[in-house]
């Protein structure tokens, strides 16, 4: 009797488990993982949430799990996930970090998907960056141009006009750098640069001056072009800015933006994302956005969407549907209206955006200027070695500043080291 009961209970348990196991896949929602550093960014985060809501409405039973990973550790997180064979289905990467994943063959070529849906990418800003070994491996989500925001009150108090050239910019920055309480420490700065956010950000900050001096790291063929008189001038300018005390030292991007937004800094060269911070700052009413005095404006590709090459086909179709949704003219418009970003699509209707974001025409203007001049933060030919290259440039620039080295010598050293990195 006992044995019979035991057998019966065992059979019942087995049957129950099998039933639950068999039913569960059909009952469960399909979940697509989407990791990003922009989940709670002012404006842009809301835009992603709106795209996810629309996608889920169009695809009942499919959920997108939108998770935040900090930007500072984002590349590490994605590298770990890909290495562990657990990449998110929707891949969001910075435009200077997707190359390693593409080179390893982990990103799905998107040309067949674009072709199948008859999507024409002509005129899509920065899309060329997404081509890797002749294949389109991502869709450019954001291509931006730098603007200059200035604090009108601080410039007026110092009696200086809005700068139009590098020399005027330096003069205005010096005039607005002040020790307000007389303790021997500057409390108000002319401008500000982030030098604590890692090599990539360091390079971006110094590029403003390098490009204005007519220099760049490589030419269009990928040859290293650092040891030039223009680069020496660019490095000299960077050294001047960092040694003259017009910028606070060793600050993170958020600290610099906060200082500016709270009226402790007169001018800031930055991308469209500065607006989110200045809108929350105490000096909001004094801040004006104009085209930067350094030309052409620094600009470039920012971030991309892609999909892993080894996920099931049905998931690929869903991921593609999501990417396609973000590319529609409606969402490209809301990318501007909600996020204050410059949408890369040439078909995006951005009329009237200036009613909510007054400086939007300046953003568009600098984006177009940077795009026409082919400006990008990632130098051609060094895409795979960008981290190593940017670290080398940062270290040599720091050495120049700390040890007061001649920029001409530094340019020679950088040239040799960059050629060695490229191999």
């Amino acid at each position: 009797m006992n044995k019979r009961l035991k057998r019966l209970a065992l059979s019942a348990a087995t049957a129950t488990l099998m039933t639950i196991g068999g039913l569960s896949p059909a009952m469960a929602d399909t979940v697509l993982k989407f990791i990003s550093w922009q989940t709670d960014d002012a404006g842009t985060g809301e835009w992603w949430h709106s795209a996810i809501a629309e996608f889920e409405k169009q695809h009942p039973g499919v959920k997108i799990e939108f998770t935040k990973a900090e930007r500072s550790s984002y590349a590490d997180t994605m590298t770990t996930l890909f290495a562990a064979n657990q990449p998110p289905q929707i891949v969001h990467l910075a435009s200077f970090e997707f190359q390693m994943f593409a080179d390893s063959g982990w990103l799905e070529p998107l040309d067949p998907w674009l072709e199948k849906d008859g999507i024409d990418m002509t005129g899509w800003a920065g899309q060329k960056t997404c081509e890797w070994n002749g294949e389109t491996v991502c869709i450019m989500t954001n291509y931006f141009g730098f603007v200059m925001a200035y604090n009108k009150k601080l410039l007026d108090e110092a009696g200086v006009a809005v700068p139009k050239t590098y020399d005027e910019f330096i003069a205005a920055a010096k005039a607005t750098t002040k020790d307000l309480n007389g303790d021997g420490i500057a409390d108000q700065f002319g401008t500000g640069h982030e030098t604590k956010g890692g090599p990539g950000q360091y390079l971006t900050e110094m590029l403003n001056y390098i490009i204005d001096a007519g220099a760049y790291w490589t030419d269009k063929e990928g040859n290293i072009t650092i040891d030039t008189p223009e680069m020496v001038e660019g490095l000299t300018r960077w050294k001047t800015v960092m040694k003259s005390g017009i910028s606070p030292v060793d600050m993170s991007a958020s600290d610099v933006r906060k200082l500016f937004a709270d009226g402790k800094m007169a001018m800031r060269l930055d991308g469209p994302w500065l607006y989110g911070t200045t809108e929350k700052g105490t000096a909001k009413s004094d801040i004006v956005y104009v085209a930067p005095p350094l030309t052409p404006p620094l600009g470039g590709s920012s971030n991309v969407l892609a999909m892993p090459s080894d996920i099931p086909d049905d998931q690929k179709q869903l991921v593609w549907d999501f990417i396609k949704l973000t590319m529609t003219p409606e969402f490209q418009r809301s990318y501007a209206t909600m996020g204050g970003n410059t949408p890369p699509s040439p078909k995006a209707d951005v009329s009237g955006v200036e009613k909510t974001i007054p400086h939007f025409p300046v953003l568009l203007q600098t984006m177009k200027e940077a795009s026409e001049k082919g400006i990008d933060r990632v130098p051609t030919g060094l895409e795979l070695y960008y981290n190593e290259f940017s670290k080398m440039v940062m270290e040599e620039s720091q050495r120049m500043i700390i040890q007061d080295l001649d920029p001409a010598e530094v340019a020679k050293t950088m040239q040799a080291k960059a050629e060695s990195i490229k191999g």
């Binding site: 021997g184 500057a186 270290e395």
Partner: protein
């Protein structure tokens, strides 16, 4: 017959029998051993295997690359590696010495009877209780070049005429890291030393006093020899902590400027996640492990037995 077999089986599995008790011990520790093997030994084997492959980003379950010594060849000929070794050695010596000096002093202090001793003991242990990352962020604010407390104090006290570039000067950055690590590390030494001090019988001190021994003599001839067993182990543990610590340096200086604070652990991270050279990163990691084992053996091995 069947009954005899079953009785035999019961006898064999009777773990209560004195001759079978060792089996029970093995069975009880088996889950822990398996867990340790899974989370320590297996990754260690993977890392050693990876260090002998020329691989950029590995993939779990992916095909192995051919055996190669290139990562080690690169490492030994790389100036960066030797610089990282030198920085690590400097930091280990400075932080371990600093932690022991401050830790032992505070332990001796709070071992005495005085009013507010409980509060002093609590205050002494507080840095240990603060999560490392929070402590480092607070220190990063205090070391801030533009608005930091330490720079302001240096000006106010007349030690400097301008703010000290803590993070953009090679020497200042090294000391900023070392000070933060000593602050975070000394409570452990204090607690261990305090436990050691309390185990020394008070009769020894009373007898020494009767014999006319001074405070210094009592410390030199009673406290130190009897504290040595505890201090030796504490020294090794502190040394290993400094060797492997990553978050303090990463948050405070990122290994810069000019690699003046780039230790072996920061170099491992940079090679893996910045340059995507996992093979080289594994080689640095394996060598770090070897150095740690040698250092521990030297301190706890035969040569140092005399201190116990």
């Amino acid at each position: 017959m069947t009954d005899t077999v079953q009785a035999g089986r019961r006898k064999f599995f009777d773990l209560a029998r004195p001759s079978r008790q060792h089996l029970l011990g093995y069975i009880l520790i088996a889950p822990a051993v398996l867990m340790v093997a899974a989370i320590i030994v297996w990754p260690l084997i993977l890392a050693i295997d990876l260090s002998f492959q020329q691989v950029k980003i590995p993939r779990l379950g992916g095909a192995s690359r051919p055996f190669s010594l290139s990562n080690y060849t690169w490492l030994f000929s790389s100036q960066e590696f030797w610089l990282a070794c030198w920085v690590t050695l400097k930091l280990v010596v400075v932080v371990t010495a600093g932690s022991v000096a401050v830790g032992l002093s505070t332990a001796l202090l709070v071992n005495n009877r005085f009013k507010g001793r409980t509060a002093a003991r609590l205050g002494m242990a507080l840095p240990w209780a603060v999560p490392e990352i929070i402590a480092v962020v607070i220190f990063a604010w205090m070391f801030d070049t533009s608005f930091g407390l330490f720079g302001w104090l240096a000006i106010q006290l007349g030690f400097a005429d301008q703010m000290i570039p803590w993070v953009s000067s090679s020497t200042a950055a090294f000391w900023a890291v070392a000070i933060t690590m000593v602050w975070k590390g000394f409570p452990f030494v204090s607690i261990m030393c305090l436990a050691g001090l309390q185990s020394i019988p008070s009769d020894y001190y009373a007898a020494a006093k009767v014999d006319g021994a001074s405070v210094f003599q009592r410390f030199r001839w009673i406290t130190m020899p009897l504290l040595m067993p505890v201090l030796g182990v504490t020294l090794v543990l502190t040394l290993l902590w400094v060797f492997r610590d990553f978050s303090i340096i990463k948050v405070l200086t990122g290994g810069g400027p000019l690699r003046s604070t780039q230790t072996l652990s920061i170099m491992t991270y940079d090679q893996a996640f910045q340059y995507h050279n996992f093979g080289r990163a594994a080689a640095v990691g394996v060598l770090t492990l070897v150095i740690c084992i040698i250092a521990s053996l030297l301190m706890l091995g035969r040569r140092s037995k005399s201190i116990y």
